[in-house]
């Protein structure tokens, strides 16, 4: 019998193999296609509505392409969080729910390489969907203002970092569960409901800057288009007992980057640790 012996491959090769096949899988999932379609439909709808309103109405309302994009990008945080939650929420847990672990974890590859490959695949797949949003934003900016500001590239770069950090958190949560549905729901509830609520309520009611929340840090993605950036503002509401102060914070660019990098590093390390030592008990 002709023996075809195994060869020890490098870590980068392991990651490449893991990435390549996971990426193919992502592109074929219904959730990838559904999310891409959803983002495209919403972006097209917004742009069509603006065109219907007329160029004069839009240019008089926003004055500059920066102001236009600042408005257009208001939903980017929600979109990124939704995409990353659905693509990353089941990335690890799916191994332990199905018998896929018996196929993939007996291959001669480090679990850390498998996870990093999947993570990069999720990052690229998520970015492809978010790119649709940016394409329509750029189209709108060109149509109404005949220009795209330099901050557009910065925003794309920050989006990639935000996707990376949200996926890092999603992968960690996914590594804690043995059921992909449960982990996806947990990630969606945390990222789409709990964290946005906290990042709105903490400044408003206890005047606390939510510097530890990823949704807060992610706001720099659209804040780069802001023409009148204010880090802190507050309004006083009259009450029977006197007045009540409601505060609002916006992250500085560097602060936002630090928050995103913090999430990326801490939760990636935690996900790697959990996955490495997780046992296939079912």
């Amino acid at each position: 019998m002709n023996h075809q012996k195994s060869e020890n491959i490098s870590r980068s090769k392991e990651i490449t193999v893991s990435f390549k096949y996971q990426f193919y899988s992502y592109l074929r999932t219904k959730r990838f296609l559904a999310l891409a379609l959803l983002v495209a439909v919403i972006s097209i709808a917004v742009l069509v509505l603006e065109i219907h309103l007329g160029s004069a109405a839009i240019t008089s309302q926003y004055k500059t392409s920066m102001a236009y994009l600042f408005n257009f990008m208001q939903n980017i945080i929600f979109t990124i969080v939704l995409v990353a939650a659905f693509l990353g929420g089941s990335a690890i847990s799916t191994d332990f729910a199905s018998n896929y672990s018996y196929f993939i974890l007996v291959q001669p590859a480090r679990r850390s390489s498998l996870l990093i490959g999947r993570y990069i695949a999720a990052l690229v797949a998520s970015f492809l969907i978010i790119l649709v949003y940016y394409i329509f934003a750029a189209a709108g900016s060109l149509y109404f203002f005949s220009s795209i500001p330099a901050a557009f590239a910065t925003s794309i770069g920050l989006s990639v970092l935000f996707i990376a950090s949200v996926l890092s958190l999603a992968f960690f949560i996914s590594s804690l569960f043995n059921n992909p549905q449960t982990s996806t729901v947990a990630v969606v509830i945390l990222l789409v409901i709990v964290l946005p609520m906290l990042s709105s309520l903490l400044p408003a009611f206890v005047s606390l800057e939510p510097w530890f929340l990823i949704n807060y840090g992610g706001q720099v993605v659209y804040n780069v288009f802001s023409t009148n950036f204010v880090h802190f503002s507050s309004i006083s509401l009259p009450t029977k007992a006197g007045s009540y102060k409601i505060s609002q914070y916006q992250p500085y660019l560097l602060e936002g980057v630090e928050i995103m990098l913090g999430y990326l590093i801490v939760f990636m390390a935690a996900a790697l640790y959990t996955y490495k030592y997780k046992q296939v008990l079912n």
Partner: protein, 236 residues
């Protein structure tokens, strides 16, 4: 080299002891049957040997490498089919096999020629079929071919014929007889008939302990048949 060694393996779960001091060592080519009733500890042993779980104490070595310390290197020369593996549902059969081959450093040409070779022996489902649409038996055959692709010197097979029809079982048994000539195969089962047709020696496990062992001819001579040996040794 082809060597499998379990050194005083103990695996405890919350309220149960799955393995209680299991030790064995095999370093010669051939097929070893790992026989015991359901829940005896067969799959737990195999999971430890392939790094899917960690022992509470003791160690497992493949070709002299401690699995819990050098998992990648230890698995490099091992083909394993544990439980009923499910390749990625979104991948095609061809992609799943190529991924397995690429993790073992095989070239595309080698992978294709190995797929072609085992396709003739095991009749794989269409290579462009999605794994998510395969039957249990088809998935089992894909997993077997993935385990055999690089012709590893050690095969660890946990009830490899489960989910296969009688004709497929015969084909597989014939293939194992061929494969054991130049590699070490550890096969678990609770079907004595299957084991005696393929294996040279047998290890009996029950309630997490090795309760007996011997070569197939010696066991047959002592107990008249392997079924009787199973009854006497396991106590069922």
């Amino acid at each position: 080299m082809a060597k499998i060694e379990a050194k005083d393996l103990v695996k405890r779960y919350k309220n149960a002891v799955a393995l209680d001091g299991v030790s064995f060592a095999f370093d010669k080519k051939g097929a070893i049957g790992y026989l015991g009733p359901n829940g005896a500890g067969k799959t737990t042993t195999f999971k430890i040997l392939t790094g899917l779980i960690r022992p509470t104490s003791g160690s497992a070595e493949i070709n002299g490498l401690d699995v819990s310390k050098h998992i990648k290197e230890a698995l490099l020369d091992v083909g394993a089919v544990i439980e009923s593996p499910e390749p990625d549902k979104q991948q095609t059969v061809n992609e799943a096999l190529h991924m397995a081959g690429e993790f073992r450093g095989m070239s595309n040409e080698s992978i294709n020629s190995q797929i072609s070779k085992y396709n003739k022996l095991l009749e794989l489902p269409p290579l462009d079929a999605r794994n998510g649409r395969l039957s249990k038996g088809q998935r089992q055959r894909v997993s077997l071919v993935a385990a055999l692709l690089s012709e590893p010197s050690v095969l660890i097979l946990d009830e490899p014929t489960s989910g296969l029809d009688p004709i497929e079982r015969v084909k597989l048994k014939n293939m194992f007889k061929l494969l054991k000539k130049d590699r070490l195969i550890l096969i678990s089962s609770h079907v004595t008939q299957e084991i005696q047709e393929v294996c040279d020696s047998i290890l009996f496990i029950n309630k997490g302990k090795i309760v007996g062992s011997g070569t197939v001819p010696a066991l047959k001579k002592k107990y008249k048949s392997l079924e009787r040996a199973y009854e006497k040794i396991i106590g069922h």
